[in-house]
C-alpha cells in the first residue's frame, strides 16, 4: 500500500516537472548572444572615452568598463534591458541590470551633475557629501528629504543605505576602494571613473554611461554632440595660431609642487587652447610632485600661470604672494598673468567635466583674447 502511494507521488512529480519544462521559454546566457555577433557588426557608441564601451543589440545594451590606462583589462560588463526581456529570455546573472530604476544612489558629484543635466534627479534617492552640494535643485531635495546622505568622505552609512535600499549604487572607486559592506547588502555597485579620462571630450562622454541605465541615450547623445561641436569649434580657432604662450600650473604645497602630467586632462586643454604647456613632453597622465626649484627653473619666465583654488575672500596677487613669497618670483605673477578659477564659486569639480567647451573658451580667451573678443568667462579669468 505504501509502495503504491510512493509510486503515484513520484509519477505526479515527474508529470509536473515535464509540464513546467514545456511552459518555460528557452532561456540563454546573455553573454552568448553578444558573442555570436561578429566584432565587425558590433560598433561601440563611444567615440572619445577610453574607460568604457557601449554596444546595442536588439534593445539590450552591453556596457564594458576597462581598467583606466589599460584597456586590455575589463573591470566589469553590464547588460541593461527592460525587466520583461531579461526575465523571459535570459538566465539570471549578477550583471543583468533592469533599465530605468526609480531608486538609485549616486556618490560622485560629477555623475550627479550628469543626472541633473539629463533631468533624472527624481530617480536619485541617496548621495554622498551632502554639505558640499552646490546645485540648488539637489539642496532643495535634501531639505525636503527626497534625497538623503548615505556616505561622507570614504565612509558609508551602511544602516541608512539598507533602509533607503537603492536598487543601484553608482560610486567613485577613487573614494570607495573597499565597498565590500555593500556587497553583503546585495545592491549592485556601478563604478564611475570619468576622472581617468585624459581627453576633455572623453571625460564629457561619460554622460552616455549614466544615460544608458535609464534609456536616455538619445538625450545624452544630443547633449554630447552639442558639447563636441562646440569644443571642436573653439579648438579650430587656435589651429593656425603661430604664437603659443607658455603656461605652467598649480601651486606649491607643503614641500611639493604637484604638476599636471604632459598626458593629462589639463595638458590637453592647454594644447587645444593654443598654449605651450611647459611639461607637454612629460609622460605622466596625472599630476606628479616636483621640487619648487625644478618648477621655478623651468617656469620662472612663463607667460601664464593657471591655478584652481579657493579663497574665502576675493583672490588677489597680494593674497597669493602672502601665501608664499616664492610665488612672487615668477614672471607670470609679476606681469599679472595668473589664470584663476575659484573651485567653490564655479562648482568647477562638479560641473566643468560636462562643460569642457566652456573651459576651453575661457582658456582661449585668456591666452588669445583677440580670438574670442566678446567671450564672458565662466570658470577661468585672469586675476586682477
Amino acid at each position: 500500500m505504501v509502495l503504491k502511494r510512493i509510486f503515484y507521488f513520484l509519477l505526479a512529480i515527474s508529470f509536473f516537472n515535464f509540464h513546467s519544462c514545456q511552459l518555460k521559454p528557452n532561456k540563454s546566457e546573455i553573454e552568448s548572444v553578444f558573442e555570436s555577433i561578429p566584432d565587425s557588426l558590433l560598433i561601440s557608441k563611444v567615440k572619445y572615452a577610453k574607460g568604457f564601451d557601449l554596444y546595442e543589440l536588439d534593445k539590450i545594451r552591453k556596457l564594458v568598463l576597462y581598467q583606466p590606462e589599460l584597456r586590455e583589462n575589463i573591470i566589469a560588463t553590464f547588460y541593461i534591458a527592460d525587466s520583461l526581456t531579461l526575465s523571459n529570455y535570459y538566465t539570471e546573472s549578477e550583471n543583468l541590470i533592469v533599465v530605468n530604476q526609480d531608486n538609485v544612489a549616486v556618490f560622485s558629484a560629477t555623475q550627479l551633475n550628469a543626472f541633473e543635466r539629463l533631468d533624472l534627479l527624481d530617480k536619485v534617492k541617496g548621495i554622498s557629501e551632502a554639505k558640499y552640494i552646490i546645485s540648488k535643485t539637489i539642496k532643495h531635495k535634501l531639505e525636503k528629504k527626497e534625497i538623503v546622505e548615505l556616505a561622507t568622505n570614504a565612509d558609508l552609512f551602511i544602516e541608512k543605505v539598507i533602509t533607503v535600499n537603492p536598487s543601484l549604487i553608482f560610486y567613485s572607486p577613487y573614494r570607495f576602494t573597499n565597498p565590500h559592506p555593500l556587497d553583503a547588502a546585495g545592491i549592485p555597485l556601478i563604478p564611475f571613473y570619468d576622472y581617468f579620462e585624459n581627453e576633455p571630450l572623453g571625460r564629457a562622454e561619460w554622460i552616455k554611461f549614466t544615460a544608458v541605465f535609464f534609456d536616455y541615450d538619445d538625450l545624452a547623445d544630443s547633449l554630447f554632440n552639442y558639447i563636441e561641436e562646440q569644443y571642436i569649434g573653439y579648438k579650430t580657432l587656435t589651429d593656425d595660431t603661430l604664437i603659443r604662450p607658455t603656461v605652467f600650473s598649480d601651486k606649491y604645497f607643503n614641500g611639493q609642487w604637484y604638476v599636471p602630467g604632459g598626458q593629462s586632462y589639463i595638458a590637453a586643454l592647454f594644447k587645444d587652447a593654443g598654449a605651450d604647456y611647459l611639461w607637454k613632453d612629460d609622460i605622466h597622465s596625472s599630476s606628479f610632485p616636483l621640487d619648487y626649484e625644478v618648477v621655478y627653473s623651468k617656469a620662472y619666465n612663463a607667460d601664464f600661470w593657471r591655478i584652481v583654488g579657493s579663497y574665502g575672500d576675493e583672490p588677489s596677487y597680494e593674497a597669493l604672494g602672502s601665501e608664499n613669497g616664492l610665488y612672487t618670483n615668477f614672471m607670470a605673477f609679476k606681469d599679472k598673468n595668473v589664470i584663476w578659477c575659484d573651485a567653490r564659486k564655479t562648482a568647477y569639480f562638479e560641473k566643468s567635466p560636462l562643460e569642457p567647451h566652456l573651459v576651453l573658451a575661457d582658456l582661449i580667451f585668456a591666452f588669445h583674447p583677440e580670438l574670442l573678443p566678446a567671450h564672458k568667462p565662466q570658470y577661468y579669468h585672469i586675476l586682477k
Binding site: E129, K131, Y132, N153, D155, F253, N254, G255, Q256, F288, P289, L290, D291, Y292, E293, V294, Y296, S297, Y300, S310, Y311, G312, D313, A319, S322, E323, N324, G325, L326, N329, R344
Partner: protein
C-alpha cells in the same frame, strides 16, 4: 666643567662639519648650481644668474636655517626631558607635547568641519597666525597638565607614563576629529604631519633660529642643575638645588623648544630622542657642560644631513623630511639600546 682638553678639538671639527653641511644644503638640490654661484650669493655679488639667486636665497637658505633651528631646539628638548625624567626614551613626542601641538593645528585645519569656520580658505596670514597660535597653545596645555601633575606626584616615571597616556588621548581626539573632517582638510593635516623644512619663508626661519638660540642660551644657566638631577633628588638637594623648581623650569623650556620645533615644520620625528644618545655615546660623558653644546652640533648636523637626503639625489622631487629623520633616527635608537644592553651584560 665645560669644553676643554681632549674634547675641544672635536667641537671645532663638528662646528666645521655644521658649516660644511650648511653650505652643502645651499649648493645641493634638484637643480644643479655651481659652487661659485653659492659663494657669490653669500658675498652679495650681483654677478649671478637671477634664477640661481632666487633658488639659493629664497628657497634653500630658509630651509637650511629652519633645519638648524629645529635640529637645535628638538635635540636640546630631548636632552632636557631625558635628564629630568631620568629616562632614555623620553623625548618630545613621548610626553605628548608634540601631540598637543598637533591637536592645536588639527583644530585649526579642521575648523571648517567642526565649527563651520572656513579657516583654510580665509586670508593666508590669518590662517598662518591661527596655526602658529594653536600649536603653541596646544603644546602648552599639555605641558601645564604635566606640570600640574608633577607638583602632585614626585615620581618622574609616573609622570612620564601619564605623559604617554596624555599623548595617546590627544592623538585619539585628533583621530576622532579627522573622522568627521572633509577630504581636503584631511589632506592638509596629513601633509603638515609629514613635516617639512621648506614651508618657512626667510623671515620665519630667522625668527625660528633666533627663538631657538634664545631659549637654548637659557639652558646653559642650568648645567649645574641638570647634572645634579642626574645623580638623584637627594644628592641634588644636598648640593642646594631646588629639585621641584628646576624640574618645572626645565620642562617649560623643553615645551617652548618643542613648540618652536613643531609649529612651522610639523612634528619632526626621532631627532629629539636620538641625538642626546649619540652625544652621550660619542663623548662618553653625562656632563651637561659637554652634552649641551654637543647635542646642539649633533642635532644641527642630523637635520642638515636629513634635509640633504630628502632632496633625493638624481630626482626632481623630494621626500617628506619626517620619513628621512625616522629612517635615520630609528636605527640610531635601536643601536643605542643594543649597545646599552651589551654594556650591562658585560
Amino acid at each position: 666643567m665645560g669644553i676643554k682638553g681632549k674634547t675641544a678639538p672635536w667641537f671645532i671639527i663638528f662646528l666645521a662639519l655644521v658649516i660644511i653641511l650648511f653650505l652643502a644644503n645651499l649648493w645641493y638640490g634638484s637643480v644643479l648650481i655651481p659652487w661659485k654661484d653659492v659663494l657669490w650669493v653669500l658675498t652679495g655679488s650681483d654677478d649671478i644668474n637671477e634664477i640661481n639667486k632666487v633658488i639659493i636665497l629664497d628657497y634653500r637658505l630658509p630651509q637650511a636655517i629652519t633645519a638648524i633651528a629645529v635640529g637645535m631646539a628638538l635635540s636640546i628638548a630631548g636632552l632636557i626631558l631625558q635628564t629630568v625624567f631620568r629616562n632614555p626614551l623620553a623625548g618630545p613626542s613621548v610626553l605628548g607635547i608634540s601631540s598637543g601641538a598637533s591637536l592645536g593645528v588639527a583644530l585649526v585645519v579642521f575648523a571648517g568641519s567642526l565649527f563651520q569656520l572656513e579657516l583654510l580658505n580665509s586670508a593666508y596670514i590669518f590662517r598662518e597666525i591661527s596655526v602658529v597660535a594653536a600649536a603653541l597653545i596646544g603644546s602648552f596645555l599639555v605641558l601645564l597638565i604635566i606640570i600640574f601633575i608633577s607638583t602632585r606626584i614626585s615620581n618622574v616615571v609616573t609622570i612620564l607614563i601619564i605623559g604617554i597616556m596624555i599623548g595617546y588621548t590627544v592623538s585619539a581626539i585628533v583621530g576622532v576629529i579627522q573622522f568627521f573632517s572633509r577630504a581636503e582638510e584631511l589632506h592638509a593635516y596629513i601633509l603638515w604631519g609629514l613635516g617639512s623644512f621648506s614651508k618657512t619663508s626667510i623671515s620665519q626661519s630667522v625668527f625660528l633660529l633666533c627663538a631657538s638660540l634664545l631659549v637654548t642660551m637659557v639652558v646653559f644657566f642650568y648645567i649645574k642643575g641638570l647634572n645634579a638631577l642626574l645623580l638623584g633628588d637627594y644628592y641634588a638637594k644636598s648640593v642646594g638645588v631646588d629639585v621641584k623648581q628646576i624640574q618645572i623650569i626645565l620642562i617649560i623650556i623643553a615645551g617652548l623648544l618643542i613648540a618652536i620645533g613643531t609649529v612651522f615644520t610639523g612634528p619632526i620625528a626621532f631627532v629629539g630622542l636620538a641625538i642626546p644618545h649619540l652625544a652621550r655615546y660619542f663623548f662618553k660623558t653625562s656632563n651637561h657642560g659637554i652634552l649641551i653644546p654637543a647635542v646642539i652640533l649633533f642635532g644641527i648636523s642630523l637635520t642638515l644631513i636629513c634635509n640633504l637626503i630628502a632632496k633625493l639625489p638624481g630626482y626632481d622631487t623630494s621626500l617628506p623630511i619626517n620619513a628621512v629623520t625616522s629612517m635615520v633616527g630609528a636605527p640610531i635608537i635601536i643601536w643605542v639600546i643594543v649597545k646599552r644592553g651589551k654594556v650591562k651584560r658585560a
